[in-house]
């Protein structure tokens, strides 16, 4: 026998399907699809609006000044939205919102085009150390590395280039970017490619866009094979 036998058997197997009238079910399901699509469209618009406003809130305090000191002086700008969700709290009570959360909660680290929180690209080692965001630098040759505060060395670090200052930062997972994305567990190592260097990224477009490379020039030793090229 040949493939014809397979055809026959498949046809016979298909005959087991019980024939029913699906007309009404189809129309009901179609209506549901229409509603789902309308809801999804509305949700997408809302998410865009929320992301845009969230990015604006994240960027503004970040650019104004290093976040540590002003946390006490200008508390209401950055942190009022999230940490106030206490169960018994009446959301209409405005005044307490501005005082409590800013003191207790450390500023959320946001990965932006110019650095991670207070740690900015281009800083000297001293400036970087002053932010408290990095540990001690060590390393041979020109480029030196320091782990980010609270992270293991191989997970999150900053690289200092003698000519450029802080030239690269690899961030730990869970960090959010200015445009609302979250850095996942597979964040690629940040070794700038020359293509990246020529086109500094004003906005992080995806979790793989490596903003930290935007100031590097020349070619770090391991730049070949860099996975940073997906950034813009």
């Amino acid at each position: 026998m040949t493939a014809d036998r397979l055809r026959l058997d498949l046809a016979e197997l298909a005959d087991e399907a019980i024939q029913i009238d699906l007309h009404d079910r189809v129309l009901t399901f179609s209506r549901r699809l229409g509603i789902q699509r309308a809801v999804a469209g509305s949700a997408a618009v809302l998410a865009l609006v929320a992301a845009a406003s969230g990015a604006a809130f994240a960027v503004l305090p970040d650019r104004a000044a290093p976040p540590m000191p002003p946390a006490a002086s200008t508390p209401s700008a950055s942190v009022t939205a999230e940490p106030t969700a206490e169960p018994s709290f009446d959301p209409s009570l405005e005044p307490t919102e501005t005082t409590t959360p800013a003191v207790t909660e450390p500023p959320t680290l946001i990965l932006g085009p110019d650095g991670l929180g207070a740690l900015k690209l281009g800083m000297s080692k001293e400036q970087a150390a002053a932010t408290g965001a990095v540990g001690a630098f060590d390393g041979r040759q020109g480029c030196q590395f320091a782990s980010l505060a609270g992270s293991a060395r191989d997970e999150a670090w900053a690289m200092h280039d003698p000519g450029l200052g802080i030239a690269a930062i690899e961030v730990p997972k869970g960090i959010r970017t200015v445009n609302g994305l979250e850095v996942g567990p597979r964040w690629p190592s940040c070794w700038g490619s020359t293509r990246m260097c020529r086109r500094p990224s004003p906005v992080i477009r995806s979790t793989r866009a490596v903003v930290c490379c935007s100031r590097c020039q020349g070619t770090p030793r391991r730049a070949t094979g860099s996975r940073c090229t997906s950034g813009r």
């Binding site: 026998m1 040949t2 493939a3 036998r5 397979l6 055809r7 058997d9 498949l10 046809a11 016979e12 197997l13 298909a14 005959d15 087991e16 399907a17 019980i18 024939q19 029913i20 009238d21 699906l22 007309h23 009404d24 079910r25 189809v26 129309l27 399901f29 179609s30 209506r31 549901r32 699809l33 229409g34």
Partner: protein, 194 residues
Amino acid sequence: MGGAQIDPNVPATKGSAHVDDHAIEFDSFVRARTPALLRSAYLLTGDQHLAEDLVQSALARTHRSWRRLYDSGNAEAYTRKTMYHLQVSWWRRGRVAESLSAEVPETRRRASGPSSTDRVAVLITLRAVLLKLSTRQRAVLVLRFFEDRSEAECAELLGVTVGTIKSQTSRALARLRTVAPELAELYVVNGATR
């Protein structure tokens, strides 16, 4: 029943006559094509209820675009294409009814004669084997050997290359031979059957 339905794709300005026309056409399309679609869907899913859901989903999507499809005359092709793509995506979402394979007895009797019990055994085994293939392999087998489509047609329908269809066919048949050697004796086919 059909007259009461409002086609979402017809603008209100078209008038009720068009609405009715489209509704009636869709009604007859569904009733005419459901049996054939259900048969394919049954082979794709291996289960009556899943097959009904699959056909229902594909037809509902067709309904959403019915006016355009009706005008272009591509409704049938669109529905089939949607059905196959949905099946693959259901697999990716882990909604496959692998639990069904538990209901299918693992019949490994040698099917040598034309007696009815042997035929039943063959069909049960065939269904069990189909469920052990990947969804894409199953889709390719159904398209090639049940719907009798050419490799080029399969490739177009599934949105892959002809080479992929060839390799998937070959792998599906190889798996069929591995899983159920007794069937392989019946289906003496190789990857380059057609």
